[in-house]
Symmetry: C2
Subunit: 751 residues, 2 copies
């Protein structure tokens, strides 16, 4: 154990295990999670070489192997609780996505949700036993956000009772579905249904794409992998082009809508269940933001505790970089955000499950608010986490760029959350739509419930005031007061956005144009609303914490989170008259104080996230702090080190060397040229330096003859010119000294 990091743990003011239990949702949950992690990590079937050392094909191969093992073992062990399955799977794939994700997470559930009983009978067990491996093919090359714009067609042919599926344009090719490229033999294809000459919009069709025996693509099916991406190396995201592919009528998922044998279309009853699913997935992504950020903070903070650099006090040892205020200012607000998002994730999950009971009863009243909140919080938290991972990475200096830090992998695995399951800006605008609607209702005198009820509060309190003429609203040392400030900021920005939208409506061609012309304001309002919700939920969580030491440290984190957000958005708070100018300076000072307060607990606070070394897979973030030893061991295993001499040495560098030497030797007959910059300075001196016995002699004589001239300053300029030349070009400084052009003949030099 590195003594620096041991000392950090000795100085903790609280017991991290208690905090771990809070994060897990109870001591028993912690115990069981650890049990499952040990089960996987100790299992020889799940061992693998460091994925960073494998090619993409090898990584895909390893992932398929592990997924196959995982399915067998989950059934064997009878692990069936969702959270336990999550722990098991995270551990097997170390938090990475895998090729069967869409089969297990989308194809099977879609079968269950949207099949008629006969379809269940036909498809479910084969899919359950992986005879049928399926994916969910919605997104097309030209269509993502706007699913009504999908172009794939399914045209019913009553003569054969078949649907004929087509990708009519290049932009209609299905693109991105995970597992589509190589793994799946079926896909649920979303397509525009045409029957009896009429389009009935999007429906889902179970479409065989590869032969169940040979796994070769079926006739009319063009399928493959979409190529390498930023991360997701294990997943065969795929493309699918359909050319008159015929499937039986029974392959349209017919639990709700139906096409009868004669082609008659039967409308579905309204269906809000998928709406619920979407809300659920977005809520879960809030938790993913917390996880990605907490992993990154764990790595960066532990590394900062063992890395020493520069001088704080002359003559003393180099300090831990965690002692630099700028380093604390980068990392501690992110640490606070990781905790905040964790608690928000817990809240979202709990709320979803509470509401989903009502949904099952057909009661949807709370769903719109949760829908709006999950959209905005998904965007808010993923944006913060996305940028935060990179701040953590760069706070590790050069070593953060090494794959052994794991930070590049955390980033590329996480960053798609900003886009999938609802592009973030689109999400913010969905939330804004709800906020504007609620604002109008409040204005109309309706009493709002739930989290937007603040829009009912007297508007006078949030009118802009002259900063100097009104009493200060905010007590910057009081979290409750800060929650209020965030609330009024949100109310103010929602009001501004709603008013701007109203003004735009006066002179816009359409409501949509007015909406678009207000969208910057609308996103800003959503962002402020989400920020308020996060601060509020973090504050609310504190009241549940019984342990005083843990309560104390979390309170400091919450205050840091809130004040940091005020400082980052000080314009909004000043604009809304919630803060005075002198308070801003006080906040800066208070923030510095909070960083110092948190400093001794920084390592214990990341320890409490309780990521095993095998899960972090980071040489920098190791629990024992023995960073350098493990970096070195890791590097030695790198594939480029499998041979001492890389073949390129023999193929290119040795032949180049021979060629250059021969050229040089022969060039005494050719003219010497120098770059214009150099020659301009030397005023033709060079032209007096003709060729000499050998090339080496030539060069040295050039230098020597310059040296013997009276222009000593010219000689002095060479290094600068060299640097300029070589740095601009990153190439061959030497070309300014000596350059034969063009070569004529290759003859032996005359002695």
């Amino acid at each position: 154990m590195n003594p620096d990091i041991s000392r950090e743990r000795e100085n903790a003011s609280f017991n991290p295990e208690i905090l771990t239990n809070i994060l897990d949702g109870g001591a028993e949950k912690t115990r069981r999670r650890r049990e499952i992690e040990s089960l996987v990590i100790g299992d020889p079937d799940f061992q693998h070489e460091d994925l960073n050392f494998l090619s993409r094909s090898e990584r895909y191969d390893a992932a398929v192997r592990k997924s196959a093992q995982m399915i067998l073992k989950l059934r064997e062990y009878g692990i069936s609780d969702p959270e336990e399955i999550y722990s098991y799977k995270s551990c097997v794939h170390r938090g990475r996505p895998e090729p069967l994700d869409l089969h297990l997470g989308m194809f099977l559930p879609t079968l269950l949700n949207q099949s008629s009983p006969a379809q269940l009978e036909a498809f479910f067990m084969p899919a359950w036993n992986l005879e049928i491996i399926g994916t969910y093919a919605q997104t097309e090359m030209g269509h993502g956000t706007h699913i009504r714009g999908l172009e794939t067609t399914a045209t019913y042919d009553p003569s054969t009772q078949e649907f004929v599926l087509n990708s009519p344009t290049i932009s209609s090719i299905k693109w991105w579905p995970g597992g589509l490229g190589k793994t799946s033999n079926h896909a649920v294809v979303l397509a525009q249904l045409y029957t009896q000459g009429k389009c009935h919009g999007l429906h889902a069709f179970i479409t065989p794409i590869r032969c169940m025996k040979t796994h070769m693509p079926l006739p009319g099916v063009v399928v493959g992998d979409i190529g390498p991406k930023f991360g997701f190396d294990e997943v065969d995201n795929g493309y699918l082009k359909l050319e008159n592919v015929r499937i039986p009528r029974e392959n349209m998922l017919m639990k709700y809508a139906k096409v009868e044998p004669d082609g008659t279309y039967v409308k579905p009853p309204s269906d809000k269940l998928t709406y619920g699913t979407m809300v659920f997935i977005r809520s879960m992504i809030v938790g993913e933001s917390a996880r990605a950020l907490s992993k990154s903070c764990t790595i960066a903070i532990r590394y900062s505790a063992v890395r020493h650099q520069s001088e704080l006090r002359p003559g003393e040892a180099e300090p831990q970089i965690l002692d630099y205020q700028t380093q604390q200012y980068k990392l501690f607000p992110l640490l606070a955000a990781a905790y905040a998002f964790h608690f928000v994730g817990q809240y979202m999950s709990k709320t979803y499950h509470r509401i989903s009971g009502d949904i099952n009863q057909g009661v949807f009243s709370e769903l719109p608010e949760l829908h709006a909140l999950s959209a905005g919080l998904k965007a808010f938290t993923t944006w913060v986490a996305n940028a935060g991972i990179e701040v953590c990475r760069m706070s590790c200096g050069g070593h953060g760029y090494s794959r052994c830090s794991s930070l590049p992998d955390i980033y590329v695995t996480f960053t798609p959350t900003c886009t999938y399951e609802g592009e973030n800006t689109v999400m913010m605008l969905q939330t804004a739509r709800y906020l504007v609607k609620s604002y109008k209702q409040a204005r109309a005198g309706q009493q709002l419930t739930g989290i937007v009820s603040y829009l009912n509060e007297p508007q006078s309190r949030i009118q802009p005031h002259s900063v100097s003429s009104r009493p200060t609203v905010v007590n910057i040392n009081d979290l409750a007061s800060l929650v209020e400030a965030y609330k009024f900021r949100a109310a103010k920005l929602v009001e501004m956005a709603a008013k701007n939208l109203q003004a735009e409506l006066q002179h816009s061609r359409s409501n949509e144009d007015a909406w678009n012309n207000s969208s910057i304001d609308l996103v800003r309002a959503s962002d402020a609303h989400c920020h308020y919700v996060v601060v509020k939920l973090f504050a609310a969580k504190l009241s549940e914490i019984e342990d005083t030491a843990v309560h104390s440290v979390l309170s400091t984190l919450a205050l840091l989170y809130a004040l940091h957000g005020v400082a980052q958005n000080s314009g909004d708070f000043l604009q809304a008259g919630l803060l005075s100018v002198p308070q801003l300076a006080q906040i800066s000072q208070r923030l510095k104080g909070l960083l110092s307060e948190l400093r001794p607990n920084a390592v214990p606070l990341v320890d409490a996230f309780d990521y095993r070394d095998e899960m972090l897979n980071s040489a920098l973030g190791r629990y024992d702090g023995n960073v350098y030893e493990h970096m070195f061991e890791w590097a030695k295993r790198s594939p480029l080190n499998h041979t001492e001499v890389h073949e390129s040495h023999h193929k290119y560098l040795k032949p180049l060397r021979s060629k250059l030497i021969m050229d040089t030797v022969c060039d005494h007959q050719s003219q010497v040229t120098v770059p214009y910059e150099f020659s301009r300075r030397l005023n033709g001196l060079i032209s007096k330096c003709h060729c000499h016995q050998t090339a080496r002699g030539l060069l040295l004589l050039d230098l020597a003859c310059l040296k013997n001239r009276p222009q000593v300053s010219v000689i002095k300029s060479i290094p600068i010119n060299m640097n300029r030349l070589t740095t601009v070009a990153s190439i061959t400084a030497a070309s300014s000294i000596y350059k034969p052009t063009p070569r004529k003949t290759l003859t032996k030099p005359s002695q």
Copy 2:
């Protein structure tokens, strides 16, 4: 040509060619750059498969091959102008770093700058002809920023007239130098020189590390590749551990300091030349920021012009996503920043070359200011560009994640600039040191010159005022007025930082502690200073533009850049009393107006950057806008598509399938279990469903028997439960329907 993008070009209000010439520094420069690009791109020796499809070893191999060709051809063609070499090299390697970078850009220049004449004779020509391939080994595993802390030792042994080199600790292992891992056979090693029992600090030693004949590591040398990184796949960044490696006395670079044969140390005269080099490199990085950002904007803006999505007006076609205000708000300020940074880069380069003339004459008076400015601007521009590339990438939706967009590669190639050549926060603090010093001089009545002279201006103008009680300073429509506002903001923040530092000095243990405790404020002051310089230089550039149409569009960009910065930092401007609250709302509106004004010129403005398709290498950023066709062609070439059926199918999925089917068939004898969530809801119903004829029958009977119960609402809950289960876990929704545990025997089912 995609008609959308043609139309964009028809609507340009200016001639992009004129702007291209301005960016290149003249029409002749544009012509010659294009000539060189054609030379490389048409050259069959530089063709290669898409690098995204190659393994790291193959990428390294391809880079070595191309570098070898490049060296031959540069000499053959006689290309020697630094800018031309830069163009040629950029084109060969498409802007990526390569294995010979450090040989050409550091090793050869170091030889030229720091060798004695005898050393030049001995080493230069072999290095010039790549018999000696060298690198520059400074950074150690434990030491980056603080080079005085390097631990490698070179101890002189007068008995053999040799230096003995050692890596005494694991943290002293040389780590990161490019080309060190596999390519180089020599390294300039920075080490602490010990002679006659005394340490004389860092010196440079030419150290053979691999055999010149076999290329195998020499005795006592442990050398290898440091493993995969975030990008830089072509470069063999390496490690080097030295164990009693002996080199002749003559291998210490002795132009300045010397060690005599008896071990007497001769001090160097003071040497400011390397200081100049550092300034130069950082100045160049400002230009790199402009290039990375302009490439990213080119891709994102062209793609946004051909991508259609969602609805602006019901019933009309899906609009170009460039018509969304939020998309413009993401991209146009970055486009403006790309132009701003380009002009700042030109200024830095010009200033450096002007000053370097003085430096050659031993006049260093302007160097400190340029040093401070280059440090801060390096940090300021790389941070903005780094985040900006990612904004561009994410503005392309899902396709931005594909390697075919080139955006991931631009990011990973660029992001190290935030760390190398001076870690950004350290850079900001260097600038702050200069600012604080200048501030104190100004306070002491000294008249400052150069860019910091604003610190002399009357402080009264920048005292905080009550916003409502004073006249507005800024005219938000006037760039000159905005430049003034940035200046006063900078002055204000420098003053605040200096005062905070002063206050800290009262109660700190040391000057260094006080500095550390003020460092957040100091970084903020530097940032404001750099922001001011960028706005000022952008405004200054406008006065040089003669073409009125180009002048007009660049003026709009400059105003956007300035106002966007005010809006992003509105707290500072309010706090400094430079803006009133009502002005903030006006700025928001004005910004929207500027986005609309720029909209028709967006594509022509990125066209003017004049990146050839071969240089961008982006399916999304193609000049012809034919995005989808080229994505599809690219994907088809992906290595995973070289075979129709991936071997993992036969190795893992087929055996798994057989195993699962057999298990299922046999499980009619085992007990049925369900997840707790499900079982809790079903209240023991499940226990009534015993095993049945076949597994398929079992499943369906489960469902069927549930269906026949009065609790219809329970049935309805299945889909939700399924979703919950499968989404939390991303796995096997079906486990809640049917789960045999644990398997006992594998027998054939009884019929």
